[in-house]
Amino acid sequence: MALTRSALRLFSGRFTQACQVRGYADAPSMSLTFAAPSQVLYNNISVKQIDVPSFSGSFGILPAHVPTLAVLKPGVVTVFENDGSTKKFFVSSGTVTINEDSTVQLLAEEAVPVDTLDISAAKELLAQSQSQLASASSEVAKAEAEISIEVSEALVKACE
């Protein structure tokens, strides 16, 4: 899995190089750094578009998007690479920064490719979190259970 992923990254890097040599009149590129504390998914890779789920609504980021900051909601991040392929990742939380120079930093607390998710495990987690909410006593426990429900609902939705 990791081998194909890194091979794909290598391929997209070389392809963008060829693109730049051919046509500088193309749209300005957008450099994405998408990382989690324990793994790097994209490190300053040029991509076409990124769809992110945030608390202020899901939105797509294209090159020359207006600079902004947003907080990620549990959900699916879709990366449209320069060679036309699409990759989906489930993120639990985090932040996204779009800077003036079209660099994007997507920092997720946990990020996994969607095809590694197991729908039955996700449904089980949802059931567990719902029962946790029912038995929660303190405000903190209730909030934690609600967060757990939000994440597991998003997980189930991502698997479908």
Partner: protein, 279 residues
């Protein structure tokens, strides 16, 4: 009486030799353990570096500057609980001391017992919080999030902030570095902030809180790698020194042993010669 001294010295030398040999074994095994932990730490650091560098980008691109104010300085000093790792903890302690001397209105959050021991004596009233049980296991994001949450919950206010840690360069060298920390006000007043669209104080608050945890995590990872590599080097040097001591002691032991034998022979022979001449 010289004979007695010779025997006593021999016993003492052999005891010392045995203990230095034991110490060499211990330092060698500590070096092996550190080497294994260093390999793991360096691997995790490689994965964490883009995350840590990415987390600092916004503050650079938005040209965030320290808040103008008199709320004082916050230093988060990253170290660990365990010693025998060279200059890792003392270099952090030294810089904290000079900083406090320069601006007395400084609060320090200490991660790890070692720096606490260094600062406890003279600067105990500057210590805001101490985090212990650090360094036994590799840090995970949850640890950094816990520390960040405690800092936020304690309501510490600051105009200027930094995280002090040891950035890993190579196996034999590390550099004590600081990463700037900005308060929410500093971010809100950043010169390039208006460029960023549709920001409200909620987003800024969530962003700065998450970024505190991210930066802390990154600094913990860098520091852990520096510490393990430094311990490896320190234990390696200790083993070499112990080896030199063993060589010297073995020489002394052999020379002393031969001296004792020679003395005994002399006494026997002179005793026999005395008997002969008597006859």
């Amino acid at each position: 009486s010289q004979q007695v001294r010779g025997m006593a010295t021999l016993k003492m030398i052999s005891i010392r030799l045995k203990s230095v040999k034991n110490i060499q074994k211990i330092t060698q095994s500590m070096k092996m353990v550190s080497a294994a932990k260093y390999t793991k730490a360096e691997r995790e650091l490689k994965s964490a570096r883009p995350y840590g560098i990415g987390a600092q980008e916004f503050y650079k691109k938005a040209e965030v500057k320290d808040e103008e104010g008199e709320k004082g300085q916050l230093i988060i000093a990253v170290s660990s609980d365990r010693g025998l790792c060279g200059a890792v903890h003392s270099s952090i302690g030294r810089i904290v001391k000079t900083d406090i001397a320069a601006s007395p209105n400084t609060k320090v959050v200490i991660v790890g017992d070692k720096v606490r021991n260094i600062l406890q004596r003279l600067y105990a009233k500057n210590i805001a919080m101490v985090v212990t049980e650090v360094g036994r296991k590799p840090a995970v994001f949850g640890d950094a999030a816990l520390v960040a949450q405690s800092i936020i919950n304690s309501g510490i206010e600051f105009s200027k902030g930094k995280i002090l840690f040891n950035a890993f360069r190579t196996v034999v060298s590390f550099r004590t570095t600081e990463m700037p920390l900005y308060s929410q006000n500093a971010v809100a007043n950043a010169s390039k902030l208006p460029v960023y669209d549709s920001l409200d104080s909620d987003v800024i608050q969530s962003y700065t809180e998450f970024s505190l945890a991210s930066l802390l995590f990154y600094s913990m990872k860098e520091n852990a790698t520096s510490e393990q590599s430094s311990r490896m080097t320190a234990m390696d040097n200790a083993s070499k020194n112990a080896g030199e001591m063993i060589d010297k002691l073995t020489m002394t032991f052999n020379r002393t042993r031969q001296a004792v034998i020679t003395r005994e022979l002399i006494e026997i022979i002179s005793g026999a010669a005395a008997l002969e001449t008597k006859n």
